[in-house]
């Protein structure tokens, strides 16, 4: 029976009809789920994901999707303000998004309409939003290193800030004429010029002692008188005998020799004295150079600033821009957390050699060709996205109208760049003529993103600019005008120009010293429109940022005269001090030198003169003695000759 029934069982056909019912049930289940529960699930998932990403509660009023219409609509999105949980940082009334099935069937996304409407800021929440607690610090040495690095960065930033404040502090100290005398007294011992002066003085004293002794050994008046007396005693005429003449000549010769020896002694002392005096004058010249170096060192020690408009601008606006920097850093932190690492590494010049990347071999990706033609769909094309907000809905909302045209993956197919424009005012906040324009142009070989942001007028509240012990400067009120423009070429080459203009500016200047308060107060009160210009440029992420402002130039103009006078005064004080300290010694040195010079030179000259006179006299006497001796000899010879003639006459009987 069983076999018969099995034999007669119909062979199954090629189609599985029995699969139809389970498949239908599955389809019905999908339909029911997407119709009744999908929107709810997606809404909850978005709320949860946003909370995890932003760290604040995000509420979505309604989330509607339409399969057949390919539409999405999200209403009433509220993002809690992390600092004030009782209010929203942003509230968006409506987000609409509609795609085209015609493009979807071609595996393309064409968004006909994307709208974000009724954006409001700082609206009050019905109940305070949840704010995620700060993440607990990670365990292990890396956390310690991280903390150390953070502290180091904070210390560096603080030091930088303090340096900036000090710049004006120093200026104030100079303007106020800080008691530098007391400080000068303390550094007296470290003055090189003073040390040198003392050395020179000691050397001169030593030389003087040497010369005193030397002069004592030189022939003096007494010696010369003795020589003169000896000379006068020598007989130079009326010699009675040749022996007498011989003795006189010998005595004269001895006197002359002695005179020569005296002359030689005196003659040697002259050049030696000249050399010593020359050395002393060279030392005095080097003392002048040392005095100059000491004045310069003291100037830097007392931080006499040069008035540089750039430094003044930086000192004044570092604190003002600090709060914006911290906001930028906050969002950069979020970006670093969520942006895929490969994009963050893009800008790095070199990979960390210690970094070990573990990843499986990547599968080949191939090339996806686009066989587009004019007027065909690119992979993604958002024709028009609009954004709007109306003033009056909340105290912080404004009249905003913005649109983004032609967001696409392939601009060449539609032949147009992506242009985003946002215009509006925030009357409650007195922000007028806001304009934001971004153009993303990929039609050229290298992509070019150009951006422009302008705010016609906005109020600037009280803001502290400088807080140093000597001076406090703050901005009480101002009306600002902002203009930012720049480009990003090939997603790397970044350029940005910021121009911020403050008009109707009010400053509050407080200083310890009344004079400074008056000078700075006057200078700040007379400031016209203030321009702050910033230029950022470089290859991402290494961007260099530079700010300059006419406030520096204006302040410089106002302060230049007073500050210059004060700086000159301070400089003169230092010079006077050094001249006072070194000058006394220097004067004494110069006096001693001139005294030494005069005394020795006169003495030596006088002795030289006397010696010369005596020498001449001796020579004259010697010559006379010789002549006299010759005459006497001749007469004697004549006499002896006559006598001999007479004797001969007698002998011959004449």
């Amino acid at each position: 029976m069983t076999n018969k029934s099995l034999d007669t069982k119909k062979a199954p056909g090629p189609i599985r009809w029995n699969a139809l019912i389970p498949f239908s049930i599955f389809c019905l289940f999908v339909y029911v789920y997407s119709h009744f529960f999908l929107d709810h699930t997606l809404r909850k998932f978005l709320e949860w994901g946003s909370y995890k990403a932003l760290g604040v509660e995000v509420n979505i009023g309604s989330f509607e999707t339409s399969f057949w219409g390919a539409k999405l609509s999200i209403r009433n999105i509220q993002i809690t303000d992390g600092e004030k949980p009782s209010q929203n940082s942003v509230e968006i009334g409506d987000i609409r998004f509609g795609m085209s099935w015609d493009a979807l069937l071609r595996a393309k996304i064409l968004v006909n309409e994307a709208a974000i409407e009724n954006i409001q800021f700082a609206t009050t929440r019905k109940s305070p939003g949840k704010v995620a607690p700060p993440e607990p610090p990670r365990q292990g040495p890396s956390a310690v290193e991280e903390q150390a690095e953070r502290l180091k960065q904070a210390a560096l930033a603080k030091a930088e800030q303090e340096y900036a404040d000090n710049m004006l502090g120093d200026l104030a100290a100079i303007l106020g004429g800080t008691d530098s005398k007391a400080q000068l007294g303390k550094i007296e011992s470290s003055l090189e010029s003073k040390k040198k002066a003392q050395e020179i003085e000691a050397e001169i004293q030593q030389k003087q002692k040497y010369w005193d002794e030397k002069i004592r050994t030189l022939p003096n008046q007494k010696d010369l008188q003795a020589l003169n007396d000896q000379f006068n005693r020598i007989k130079y005429k009326d010699f009675k005998s040749p022996q007498e003449l011989q003795t006189s000549l010998q005595e004269l010769d001895a006197v002359l020799k002695k005179g020569d020896a005296y002359s030689k002694q005196i003659g040697n002392a002259g050049p030696e004295l000249e050399n010593d005096l020359k050395k002393i004058s060279t030392d005095i010249k080097s003392l002048d150079a040392l005095i100059k170096a000491d004045v310069k060192a003291l100037e830097s020690r007392f931080r006499i600033p040069s008035i540089n408009p750039k430094d003044i601008s930086r000192a004044l606006f570092n604190k003002y821009l600090g709060k914006y920097n911290s906001k930028i850093n906050h969002y950069r932190g979020i970006a670093e957390k969520y942006v895929p690492p490969k994009y963050l590494k893009k800008g790095k010049d070199k990979e960390d050699p210690n970094e070990v990347l573990i990843q499986p071999r990547e599968r080949e990706k191939g090339i996806s060709y686009e066989f587009g033609r004019k007027n065909s769909y690119p992979l993604l094309w958002i024709k028009k996205a609009t954004i709007s907000s109306q003033a009056g809905m909340s105290p912080k909302s404004g009249n905003i109208r913005g649109e983004i045209l032609d967001i696409t993956t392939q601009q060449s197919l539609i032949g147009r760049p992506t242009v985003a424009t946002l215009k509006g005012d925030f009357p409650a906040d007195q922000i007028e003529n806001l304009l934001l324009k971004i153009v993303i142009n990929n039609l050229q070989p290298e992509s070019l993103i150009s951006y422009n942001m302008e705010i016609g007028s906005y109020p600037i509240g009280a803001s502290e600019l400088v807080q140093s012990p000597d001076v406090q400067i703050s901005l009480t009120k101002a009306t600002g005008k902002l203009s930012i423009e720049g480009t990003l070429k090939a997603l790397r080459d970044f350029k940005m120009n910021i121009n911020n203009q403050f008009a109707a500016v009010g400053f509050s200047v407080e200083a310890k010293d009344k004079t400074i308060k008056d000078i700075l107060g006057g200078a700040f009160a007379g400031l016209p429109i203030i321009n702050i210009s910033g230029v950022a440029s470089g290859f991402l992420p290494a961007i260099s940022f530079d700010i300059s402002s006419n406030i520096g130039t204006e302040l410089e103009r106002g302060l230049r005269r007073q500050v210059d006078a004060k700086i000159a005064e301070a400089r003169k004080q230092i010079e006077t001090y050094i001249n006072g300290e070194v000058g006394k010694t220097r004067e004494a040195i110069e006096k001693q030198v001139s005294q030494l010079k005069n005394q020795l030179a006169t003495e030596i000259k006088k002795i030289e003169g006397q010696l010369d006179t005596q020498k001449k006299q001796a020579e004259t006497k010697a010559n006379q003695a010789k002549k006299d001796a010759e005459n006497q000899g001749r007469k004697q010879l004549e006499k002896e000759g006559q006598k001999a003639v007479d004797d001969l006459k007698k002998k011959f009987g004449f």
Binding site: R16, R106, S368, Y369, F371
Partner: protein, 174 residues
């Protein structure tokens, strides 16, 4: 997962039976296409749809897809080169332009060089593959299954009550 395992067990049971040779061979051939196609593509959905509604052994398709996925991974560079040469062929350009702008066709992702290369390889291998798989199954049944059935172990096992009970259960509940 249970459904998948059930299909795979069914594949082994059918492989060791005397029927369903075509179903098995078709399943393996479909698996070959699936293995060479991207998971999220129109052709993968089409093959799955056919395998589901036509009497094609799903377990064989899944096992074959799993196996050929590895093969496809190994020959990616070859598929890439082949795909490029096809997609860059001047004569085929107008066809590809039309296909790219047609509804549904771009969902096959034919414009990717690897997808195109793999598709060409799988299309070339599917029909011969079907016959090769069929022959292999027949040979397997003759050489392996028949020999195993003549072993004393199997004869002894087939004589047990447990085996009879299993046969009855299988006949009644499949």
């Amino acid at each position: 997962m249970t459904l998948l395992l059930k299909q795979i067990f069914a594949f082994f049971r059918l492989l060791n039976s005397e029927t369903g040779t075509n179903q098995l061979a078709a399943g393996l051939a479909c698996g070959l296409i699936l293995g060479f196609s991207p998971v999220l593509s129109l052709q993968a959905f089409l093959v799955l749809f056919l395998a589901f509604f036509l009497r094609i052994q799903l377990g064989a398709a899944f096992l074959s897809a799993f196996f050929f996925k590895f093969v496809a991974f190994m020959i990616d560079p070859l598929a890439d080169k082949l795909g490029r040469s096809v997609l860059e062929s001047d004569t085929l350009q107008p066809l590809f332009v039309s296909m790219y702008n047609m509804p549904l066709v771009p969902l096959t992702r034919f414009n990717n060089s690897i997808v195109m290369g793999s598709a060409v390889i799988s299309l070339l291998l599917t029909i011969p593959g079907f016959f090769v798989f069929k022959n292999l199954i027949v040979k397997y049944r003759i050489t392996v299954v028949e020999r195993f059935r003549t072993t004393k172990f199997w004869k002894g096992f087939a004589a047990t009550k447990f085996y009879n009970w299993y046969c009855k259960y299988s006949e009644l509940y499949g």
